[in-house]
C-alpha cells in the first residue's frame, strides 16, 4: 500500500469489528463510516451478514458508496420498512448509528437539543432509536468526540435507552462498541462505565479525558490496530473506490 492509512480507514476497520461473531443477522450501518464498516465486516470476517441496497432489497454483496450500476446488484431478498420493523422487534439485527449526544449511561439523543418545549435545535425526532436499543445490539460511531457529544449528566432527550435500564429490555440491550475520531471504546467496564480500549494515532489519554463530559475508565492506552492490507484493498477498491470516506474528516 503506497498511500498512507487515513483516519477514516482506521475508523472503518475498527467499526467493522462491531459485527464480529454476530452471525446471520441484518447489519445496518447508518451514515458513511458505519455503512462501509458493515460492508467490510461482510467481506472479511462475517459473510453471513444480511445487508440492504440502502432501500428495499437485500443484496448479496455490500453496495459500494457513490454511483453504481444498480442493475448489477444481486438481489436475494426483500426488506421494506415494514420488514425492517418486524426484523428488529425479533432482535436479529445489529445497527451502528451516530447519535448527536451520548451520556455515561449509554443513553443516546437524535431528537432535539435544549428545552424540549421549544428546542434550541430541533433534530430528526427519535426515529427508531427507542425500538432499536431495547430490541437488539447496537454500536456507535462518533466523528466529533467532544464534551458536546459525550455529555455530562444526561442527554437532552433520551431517544435510545441506556444500560441502567437493561432489565426493561428482556436482556437484549447492549452497546457493543463505540468508535470515535479519538479511539475505540466500549461500555463493558465494571458498573458499565465507558472504557478506552485503544487510541488512534496522535491521540493521548488526556485528549480523551478532556473531550469526554464524564469519567472514562482507561482500560488500555495501546494504539488502535491498523487496518490490514486485505481490509485496505476492500475499502479502497471495492466498498468506496471513489473515496467518499475522505469527506468525513476532510482528508
Amino acid at each position: 500500500m503506497s498511500e498512507s492509512i487515513s483516519l477514516a480507514e482506521i475508523c472503518i476497520s475498527s467499526s467493522s469489528k462491531a459485527w464480529k461473531g454476530e452471525g446471520e443477522i441484518l447489519a445496518t450501518g447508518i451514515g458513511l463510516i458505519p455503512r462501509i464498516a458493515a460492508g467490510l465486516a461482510k467481506l472479511t470476517h462475517n459473510p453471513d451478514l444480511m445487508m440492504t441496497d440502502g432501500e428495499t432489497y437485500l443484496i448479496s454483496k455490500p453496495a459500494p458508496m457513490g454511483k453504481r450500476d444498480i442493475s448489477l446488484d444481486q438481489v436475494e431478498g426483500y426488506m421494506s420498512y415494514s420488514r425492517v420493523f418486524e426484523n428488529l422487534w425479533g432482535g436479529k439485527r445489529h445497527a451502528m448509528v451516530t447519535p448527536t449526544q451520548i451520556d455515561s449511561f449509554g443513553q443516546t439523543n437524535i431528537s432535539a437539543i435544549g428545552d424540549y418545549g421549544s428546542p434550541k435545535v430541533q433534530l430528526l425526532g427519535v426515529r427508531g432509536f427507542p425500538g432499536n436499543f431495547i430490541n437488539h445490539k447496537n454500536s456507535i460511531f462518533i466523528p466529533n468526540h467532544s464534551v458536546k457529544t459525550f455529555v455530562k449528566g444526561k442527554v437532552d432527550m433520551v431517544s435510545g435507552m441506556g444500560h441502567q435500564n437493561k432489565k426493561l429490555s428482556n436482556g437484549k440491550f447492549e452497546i457493543k462498541l463505540v468508535v470515535t475520531n479519538l479511539g475505540v471504546f466500549d461500555f463493558n467496564a465494571e458498573n458499565n462505565n465507558l472504557q478506552l480500549l485503544s487510541l488512534h494515532p496522535g491521540v493521548s489519554v488526556d485528549d480523551v479525558i478532556e473531550n469526554t463530559g464524564f469519567d472514562v475508565i482507561i482500560k488500555s492506552d495501546e494504539p488502535t490496530i491498523m487496518p490490514t492490507s486485505d481490509e485496505l484493498t476492500c475499502i479502497r477498491e471495492v466498498l468506496d473506490p471513489q473515496g467518499v470516506r475522505n469527506s468525513i474528516f476532510g482528508e
Binding site: 432501500e55 430528526l124 425526532g125 427519535v126 427508531g128 427507542p130 425500538g131 430490541n135 433520551v158
Partner: protein, 289 residues
C-alpha cells in the same frame, strides 16, 4: 361505482380540528397536491400523523397543525426539515413524539379496533417522559412484565398517494416499498387516494397487478387523478425526489413569500407547469443510496 373526486372535493371533507394521517415516508410518495390544496384552504387546528417529510413542513409553514404525532420529519437526502424545525423551535405546534414502530403499532391498534397494543418500545426513554398520557399494561401471564400500552391512533381521514387506481378505488402501489399506507387506510374513517393514473379495472393487470393492491377498495372513499401528485417527493418507479426543488423549499424557511408566489395557491396543473411540466418531473431519476 364511481369514486372520482376533485382536489376541492377532498378538502371539503375536512374540518377544523380533525385528525389526518398522511401516507408515504419522508420525501417519498407523499400526496403533495392534496397537502398544497389544504394549505390554500381555511382549514386549521389539524392533528397530523405522519412519517414526516415536506407534507409536515408545508403544513407547518401554513400554520395548519395544532398537534403533530410523529417519529421523525426528514427530507431524506436533506436530513433536517427546515419548516418543521422552525415550528418546533418557535414552539408553534404541540407534539406527540414516538418511535417509528410505536406509530405503526398505534395505527395497527386502530386498524384492528383495539384500544392499544403492548410493546417494550418507549421504555427507558424520554418518549414516555414527554407523553405522560401513555399508560402501561402488565402482562397477565407469569412474566408479569410491565409494557407500554400504545394507544390506537384513530384517524378521521387518511390521505395516500398511489401509482394506479380504477374508479372504484382498486389501488396499486407499484413502488417496491408500500411503507405503512395500508395501516393508515385501515386506521381511518375515510381514505382519499390521489393517483398517478386512473385506469379501467381491466387495465389494472389482472392477477399480476393484484399483488400491488395493498388494501381493499372498501377502505377508499374517493379517488383523485393527480399525475405527478407526489412532487417534490418521489413516486417510484415513475420519478425520484426533486432534490433541487427540495433545496429551494428548504431555503424558503427564512422567507416563504417567494416560494409561495412561485409554486403555491395554484391549480394542480398550474403547479406542474411551474415545475416545467410533467415531462420534466417524469425525467427525475430515482435516488440511489
Amino acid at each position: 361505482m364511481d369514486k372520482i373526486v376533485s382536489h376541492k372535493d377532498v378538502v371539503d371533507q375536512l374540518s377544523d380540528g380533525m385528525t389526518i394521517g398522511v401516507g408515504g415516508w419522508g420525501a417519498r410518495r407523499k400526496p403533495m397536491s392534496l397537502i398544497r390544496e389544504i394549505c390554500q384552504s381555511d382549514i386549521k387546528d389539524l392533528t397530523v400523523v405522519s412519517y414526516g417529510g415536506p407534507d409536515v413542513g408545508l403544513l407547518c409553514a401554513h400554520k395548519k397543525i395544532k398537534k403533530l404525532i410523529f417519529g421523525f420529519v426528514s427530507l431524506d437526502m436533506i436530513p433536517l426539515e427546515s419548516h418543521f424545525r422552525q415550528a418546533r423551535q418557535k414552539n408553534e405546534i404541540e407534539v406527540m413524539e414516538l418511535d417509528e414502530g410505536m406509530v405503526q403499532w398505534g395505527l395497527r391498534a386502530a386498524a384492528m379496533n383495539l384500544p392499544f397494543l403492548p410493546t417494550r418500545v418507549g421504555l427507558g426513554t424520554d418518549v414516555l417522559t414527554h407523553n405522560p398520557e401513555l399508560e402501561y399494561v402488565t402482562s397477565p401471564y407469569n412474566d408479569a412484565e410491565k409494557l407500554v400500552a400504545m394507544p390506537a391512533l384513530k384517524l378521521d381521514i387518511a390521505l395516500i398517494h398511489v401509482n394506479k387506481s380504477d374508479e372504484k378505488g382498486n389501488t396499486q402501489i407499484i413502488g417496491p416499498d408500500p411503507f405503512f399506507d395500508e395501516l393508515f387506510a385501515r386506521a381511518a374513517c375515510k381514505t382519499f387516494v390521489s393517483s398517478e393514473e386512473v385506469v379501467s379495472t381491466q387495465e389494472l393487470g389482472g392477477k399480476d397487478g393484484a399483488i400491488f393492491n395493498r388494501f381493499e377498495r372498501s377502505l377508499v372513499t374517493g379517488v383523485l387523478h393527480a399525475p405527478c401528485g407526489a412532487h417534490p417527493t418521489s413516486c417510484a418507479p415513475s420519478y425520484g425526489f426533486d432534490i433541487e426543488h427540495l433545496k429551494e423549499y428548504s431555503a424558503a424557511a427564512k422567507s416563504f413569500d417567494e416560494y409561495s408566489t412561485k409554486y403555491l395557491n395554484k391549480t394542480h396543473q398550474e403547479y406542474i407547469d411551474s415545475i416545467g411540466g410533467s415531462e420534466t418531473i417524469l425525467n427525475i431519476p430515482l435516488p440511489q443510496f
